[in-house]
């Protein structure tokens, strides 16, 4: 551990310099330009819904240090806010006090604020230039929901889009119930330390270390990316990006960040929440089986459904390399692109399932993990906690 710390400290100077350079140069801000990136991902879930401390998932990122470059790291935890589980937990970045005040005015028009507070962080030398980081526990105002004729989740999603698109200096990076996303510019291990994740406990965690090929250094651009209770960590660079983006933007989503993870999150939200597809069906849309596979499927019914999904959602097929973990209330789903162009392995021990870009990361979480295997391209691995199975 101490070795790791020294290494990270060494990287700190680089980081600082990059940031200065950014401000001097005429560099486009994240969202104004598309930024491809490579990455590391990891996840853990307890099927019995037992509490897992945030420190475990931080450990997972250590062995994958070189898969990130210090320009983004983050985590999502599920079941972390049991005392406020009935309220939407919104995490926001603000550029300054004025943007926070303006945003709060907006929030009060749509929600009742049950609690608002600064997200506790720890000052560490490797994480600098942090924005104002705040969280709110919110209850949608019924009168507004009725007048907009929206169900609760659509109402919240729309409010998030509005803040992120229209309010300068305010950015919602987490908006689900009893879950939260924590992210920053830095190496993931440092980000975990910064957010004091060891103080949280949840039944599932996902993590991400970012290796962007451009140097935006904006906190909102780190991953996981989340909307409502969906969060996505992703490793890859999809070649279908603009086809996917231009399609999904027809349905009220706005891709402000121009990152793969953002568009994948919206696609999954659209397919699962809006269109009512199951996780498995959604996986068959975004990592659709090849026509040759579909035509050869022995189960005619399956073959028909796979063909139907491809015909119905052709613009949501995702091509190019990706491995993702989708977090949602009560479970996670891991999925690779259909050619398996990115590494991803799964391991199990007792009621726990581990997923990571590298086996070493699973070993770091649990060196007794067994049956480590690599899912095939396009083969979804869906894990649900037991009481959600019914």
């Amino acid at each position: 551990m101490s070795k790791g710390v020294h290494y990270r400290m060494g990287k700190l100077c680089d980081n600082g310099r990059l940031f200065v350079f950014m401000k001097d140069a005429l560099m486009k801000r994240e969202g104004e330009v598309r930024i491809p990136s490579g990455c590391a991902i990891a996840a853990v879930i307890s099927r019995k819904k037992e509490n897992i401390p945030g420190s475990l998932i931080i450990k997972a990122m250590g062995p994958m240090h070189d898969r990130s470059n210090g320009l983004g790291g983050g985590f999502a935890g599920y079941g972390i806010y049991p005392e406020y589980k009935d309220f939407y937990a919104m995490h926001l970045f603000f550029d300054n006090r004025d943007s926070r005040k303006a945003c709060e005015v907006f929030i009060k028009e749509y929600f009742e604020i049950v609690k608002s507070e600064v997200i506790p962080t720890r000052k560490i030398p490797s994480i600098t230039d942090e924005p104002i980081i705040w969280r709110y526990f919110l209850h949608p105002l019924m009168s507004m929901m009725l007048s907009l004729q929206l169900d609760e989740k659509s109402f919240v999603a729309r409010a998030v889009m509005k803040i992120n698109t229209e309010l300068d200096g305010a950015y919602v990076f987490s908006s689900g119930k009893n879950m939260g996303t924590f992210k920053a510019v830095g190496y993931p291990e440092d980000v975990g330390l910064f957010y004091r994740l060891e103080e949280y406990e949840g039944y599932s965690w996902t993590a991400h270390g970012r290796y962007p090929t451009n140097t935006p250094g904006w906190w909102g651009g780190a991953h996981p990316f989340s909307l409502l209770d969906y969060s996505v960590v992703h490793n890859g660079e999809i070649s279908s990006y603009d086809a996917n983006r231009r399609f999904i933007e027809m349905y009220g989503y706005k891709c402000n960040l121009q990152t793969d993870t953002e568009v994948i999150t919206y696609i999954l939200d659209y397919l699962i929440r809006v269109k009512g597809l199951t996780l498995n069906e959604a996986a068959n849309v975004i990592a659709a089986p090849f026509w040759s596979t579909i035509n050869g499927e022995k189960d005619r019914r399956e073959s028909e459904i796979h063909a139907y999904l491809r015909k119905t959602f052709p613009s949501l097929l995702i091509t190019g390399p990706f491995s993702i973990v989708l977090g949602f209330e009560g479970g996670i789903m891991a999925l690779n692109d259909r050619l398996k162009l990115r590494s991803m392995v799964v391991g199990e021990m007792r009621d726990r399932v581990y997923i990571a870009s590298e086996e070493a990361s699973i070993r770091a979480m649990d060196d007794s993990a067994k049956e480590i295997w690599a899912p095939a391209g396009g083969q979804p691995v869906i894990v649900r906690v037991e009481d959600e199975r019914a």
């Binding site: 598309r34 491809p36 990136s37 490579g38 090929t213 890859g236 660079e237 999809i238 070649s239 279908s240 990006y241 603009d242 086809a243 996917n244 231009r246 399609f247 933007e249 027809m250 349905y251 269109k275 009512g276 597809l277 069906e281 659709a288 090849f290 026509w291 040759s292 019914r301 028909e304 459904i305 063909a307 139907y308 999904l309 491809r310 015909k311 119905t312 959602f313 052709p314 613009s315 097929l317 995702i318 091509t319 190019g320 390399p321 259909r338 050619l339 162009l341």
Partner: protein, 501 residues
């Protein structure tokens, strides 16, 4: 001569030392350019009749012939080019409208040639189509809006009628009459072999070709020639032709001289009578009338066949397309101003309409802005010259493309642009039996299949380079395109960035 004399456009150059007086050129030229002078025992030429179709050059066994641009010409003038002057001579002599054929040959910008395609390097891998599956299959038609499930919660797999294509290319409308029986036979057989479609145009469907119905689009145009119940049932889709890129706002006129034998029978009109298609459909004067025709055709075919509405790319094309998307049509086909024709008034062909590249971009974006892009598929035509044009059209937002000129060229057309004369030496745009028989159906079919197979390979190579392994992921993927040498406005309309950005 006279003031009307126009110096011939071409010279026939005959290398006397090579010429063996075999007289093949005489037999091959339906225009009567080559003449054998019995008395003198030599071959002479009447170059005033030459259209530069290259038939004699291609068949001269000793390569003794060349058709070269006549160096004689008017004094050079950047404003009054010789075409403008000669056309005035012609019109002041005849008092008539000038006719031309094939696509607009004028020097307008070709946007396809100012667009560059992306490829993967380092951050994601290119995909090798020789080693990995590379999918070009496309379905055209409306996409289901609501996912319905049965009582077990299983998805009900019924969709609106769809067209399935093995690759995103179809042969576009050319009527039997404007092109020959053999050309039609070759197109129908090639489409069947390739798993794509060809299109009857407004000439009806010859009874011999009903067997290719699964790969046939039957067209209903303003003259309604050849339309009857069996015809509508025969094809796999029905196209309502509202307009054509080469002559937007103009009807059609197939002269009585071409309405002979089976052409007359297939069109269901008397032999020798002119086939005049009015400029508008006289039952469609507005968008709500179009909706009625769309549903009449669907009703007539039990809602089993997708209906395509074909329009010319004109200034207001985005709004027109949006109207069509709401008319109940399943597919909109847009024909750009460089699209070909068997005959069109020259002024219309050369001056009316807009380039297909801009039309695709603005229609696709407009339909997305309105949230109705999924209600309709978009087919683009009007001078798709190569597989690169196909890739660019699809990345701009088309679901598939129509090709016609390229298909004719594959069969032997040399783009002499004289289809209207009916004397096509290549047996394509003619009804003269002796000329039609020159087009060998089997050879022409094979050449069409070869061309499309080659394009498909190239499309797969380009997709693989971009790291895309299914054509769906290319559709509307404008990030894969960059402009070169374009203004900000042009880039804005095309929705792409400049190279280097």
């Amino acid at each position: 001569m006279s003031i009307d004399f126009i110096s011939p456009e071409f010279d026939v150059s005959r290398n006397e030392s090579r010429c063996i007086k075999c007289r093949i050129c005489v037999r091959e030229c339906a225009n009567g350019v080559h003449i054998f002078d019995e008395k003198r025992g030599i071959l002479i030429s009447d170059e005033t009749k030459c259209v530069n179709c290259q038939r004699c050059v291609s068949f001269c066994p000793t390569r003794a012939l060349k058709i070269i641009k006549n160096p004689n010409g008017l004094k050079s003038n950047a404003n009054w080019c010789s075409d403008s002057v000669n056309e005035i001579f012609k019109q002041s002599s005849s008092g008539g409208v000038l006719l031309s054929s094939m696509g607009n040959p004028k020097k307008y910008p070709v946007y396809f040639d100012r667009i560059l395609i992306n490829a993967s390097q380092v951050t994601n891998p290119p995909i090798d189509p020789l080693r990995e599956p590379m999918e070009t299959k496309v379905f055209l038609g409306k996409k289901s809006d609501v996912i319905e499930r049965d009582s077990d919660g299983k998805i009900k797999c019924s969709t609106e009628p769809q067209i399935e294509l093995s690759m995103p290319i179809m042969f576009s409308a050319m009527s039997y009459g404007s092109i020959s029986y053999n050309a039609h036979a070759a197109l129908a057989r090639a489409a069947t072999e390739l798993g794509i479609l060809y299109n009857t145009g407004e000439g009806g469907l010859h009874e011999d070709f009903y067997v290719y119905g699964k790969n046939t689009i039957v067209q209903v145009a303003s003259g309604r020639f050849g339309v009857h119940e069996d015809y509508l049932e025969a094809g796999c889709a029905i196209e309502i032709k509202m307009g054509q890129g080469a002559k937007p706002g103009i009807g059609g006129h197939l002269p009585g001289a071409k309405i002979v034998g089976d052409v007359a029978k297939t069109r269901m009109i008397a032999e020798g009578s002119d086939a005049i298609s009015p400029a508008p459909h006289h039952d469609i004067y507005s968008i709500e009338d179009l909706r009625q025709l769309v549903f009449s055709l669907k009703e007539a075919t039990n809602y089993k066949k997708p209906v395509i509405v074909k329009v010319a790319a004109v200034h207001n094309i985005a709004a027109i397309a949006s109207g069509i998307a709401r008319s109940g049509a399943d597919i909109i086909a847009i024909d750009g101003f460089r699209g070909g024709t068997g005959a069109a008034p020259t002024r219309i062909r050369d001056n009316v309409g807009i380039p297909i590249e801009l039309a695709i971009a603005s229609v696709d974006q407009h339909l997305r802005n309105e949230g109705i892009r999924n209600n309709i598929s978009l087919v683009a035509g009007g001078s798709i010259r190569s597989s690169a044009d196909v890739v660019k059209a699809i990345a701009l937002g088309a679901d598939a493309v129509y090709v016609a000129s390229a298909a004719l060229i594959a069969m032997g057309c040399h783009l002499c642009r004289n289809c209207q004369s009916g004397k096509c030496n290549w047996g394509i745009a003619t009804q003269r039996a002796e000329l039609v028989s020159r087009l060998d159906v089997e050879v022409a079919k094979t050449r069409l299949v070869n061309l499309m197979t080659a394009w498909r390979h190239e499309i797969m190579e380009m997709m693989g380079g971009m790291g895309i392994n299914s054509i769906e992921a290319l559709k509307g993927n404008r990030l894969m395109l960059r402009g070169i040498g374009m203004t900000e406005k042009e880039l804005e309309i095309l929705g792409i960035s400049h190279a280097g950005e």
